[in-house]
């Protein structure tokens, strides 16, 4: 968790503007921080979509929440108090325990729709669940080799898969996915910082990186040839995630 005060201090130090009023919080620094954070988010999503890196790179950004699926086998990613930028992994039927108290069995609550289960704590995954695309679903359905198929759905060898659509996670095979527990590992959609008491849910080690990018955004306005923008676009992809954007 990074606070505004930490980031501002780092930015002003890089610009050698400590104690001056050349850069103002609302006008310069907060928008620059938000721009830097949004590029972290974009780069992470891009990386997942293109399989150009490992989920391990995103480990420090990743959160895990427990849901129960709807009767139709989907999960709406709501109820956690923040929105989701991208899903890293889904684990159906994970090991769970109650957050408060012990020894009580965790039970599915009667509910047509999916439900965020903040009362349960994730202990560990049990079965792999492959990420597929919506276009693959009809192909998967009757192919017994592919994860998420319905052919083996009611045999001991059935396999899970999931796909994302319209902010929902759809579990496959659908005939097994009704009203089950499901752990979702995801990257939070960082809310924009609005004032100087705000924070960003990025790990502490990203302070200098974030401040560097924010400083670039601050100084971009002083760069008439916009050369700084090209540098930022190339660097935020390669420095943080070690991949190329082309």
């Amino acid at each position: 968790m990074l606070t505004y005060a930490q980031i501002e201090k780092a930015i002003l130090a890089k610009l050698d503007a400590e104690g001056s009023e050349r850069y103002l919080p609302e006008q310069d620094i907060i928008p620059a921080i938000n721009a830097a954070v949004s590029r972290v988010q974009a780069a992470a999503s891009y990386m997942l979509a293109n399989r150009k890196g490992s989920e391990e790179i995103l480990r420090d950004f990743t959160r895990v929440s427990i849901f129960q699926t709807s009767v139709d086998g989907w999960v709406a990613l709501t109820g956690m108090g923040h929105t989701v930028s991208n899903v890293v992994a889904v684990y159906p039927q994970p090991d769970l325990k109650k957050e408060v108290g012990s020894g009580e069995p965790h039970v599915i609550v009667g509910n047509q729709s999916s439900l965020y289960r903040g009362d349960l704590v994730y202990l560990g995954a049990n079965k792999p669940c492959k990420r597929v695309t919506m276009e693959m679903v009809p192909v998967i359905k009757d192919n017994s080799i592919m994860e998420g198929n319905e052919v083996t759905a009611h045999t001991p060898r059935f396999q899970w898969a999931y796909y994302l659509n319209q902010g929902r996670i759809y579990l496959l095979p659908r005939s097994r996915a009704s009203q089950v527990f499901c752990a979702v590992a995801y990257i939070e959609n960082f809310a924009p910082m609005t004032d100087t008491s705000g924070t960003v849910s990025l790990p502490d080690y990203m302070l200098q990186q974030l401040a560097t990018w924010a400083a670039y955004y601050v100084t971009w306005k002083q760069d008439p040839s916009a050369e700084g923008y090209r540098v930022i676009a190339a660097r935020d992809a390669s420095e943080l995630f070690g991949f190329s954007t082309n």
Partner: protein
């Protein structure tokens, strides 16, 4: 060694151990069965040519099957009984995947014929023997022949037995069926041939490892200009694995 253990070893060898891996247990299992059946047919062929019958022990299963009786149709008096094959079998020369058929303890046959041996043959041969006084099918001289029924079932016709016989003891050359394989079952293969099996599966893995989907860009490009393509070592038809088990017929 169980299927699970063997497959997990291959997954680790290929680095396919994350949840989005292209090759998971199921496709590897399918490829294990391809290789297993190839090696199994070799071992059984060697049995047939050497006659010692010791190599294919993992593939012989003895099961008790229910028998149905057909009293013939309007056009012919082709009375016989049949049972459906209890598993997939190896199709081998001479025996049609069946190693033996016998009356069992609860078959319901007369005691006088309980020890009769069933001759495995084909419908063509049987047709020629049908009315033969000394060779035609009888309770103490039954015949067995495989055929496909009109509804596509893989049937084994049993000729000459009494309609009162309801069960038979059948030995088949059993081939594991993908749909019903339990990953915790032992692989039906001699342990010294597991290495051959692993090599066969790894050879087939060149396809998932070399597929374009791992290289494609979003705009549809595949290879970059001047990319050097390394061809993968494919197994030869003359590979020792594929020929080691079979000896020429003497």
């Amino acid at each position: 060694m169980t299927y699970r253990l063997f497959i997990d070893d291959i997954r680790v060898a290929l680095g396919m151990v994350h949840d989005d891996a292209l090759w998971s247990r199921e496709p590897i299992l399918m490829n294990v069965l391809y290789g297993l059946n190839l090696l199994g047919a070799q071992d059984l062929s060697r049995d047939l040519t050497t006659g010692d019958g010791l190599q294919g022990m993992h593939r012989r299963r003895v099961v008790c099957v229910p028998v149905e009786h057909i009293s013939g149709c309007n056009e012919c008096e082709w009375k016989h009984s049949y049972f459906e094959l209890p598993s997939e079998t190896y199709d081998l020369p001479y025996d049609g995947g069946i190693t033996m058929v016998r009356y069992g303890k609860d078959s319901g046959c007369k005691p006088a014929v309980a020890g009769a041996s069933f001759t495995i043959t084909s419908l063509e041969h049987l047709s020629g023997l049908w009315d033969h006084p000394y060779q035609g099918p009888r309770e103490d001289r039954p015949y067995v022949a495989r055929y496909m029924s009109e509804d596509g079932k893989d049937r084994v016709g049993v000729f000459g037995i009494s309609p009162l016989v309801k069960k038979l003891l059948v030995g088949v050359f059993y081939a594991p069926k993908y749909e019903t394989v339990d990953l915790d079952e032992e692989i039906p293969l001699d342990i010294h041939r597991l290495h051959d099996l692993k090599r066969l599966v790894l050879t087939m893995s060149v396809w998932p490892l070399g597929l374009p989907q791992e290289r494609y860009k979003n705009d549809g490009r595949d290879f970059e200009p001047d990319t050097v393509i390394n061809t993968r070592p494919l197994i030869s038809l003359n590979d020792p694995i594929l020929n080691s088990g079979v000896k020429p017929v003497e």
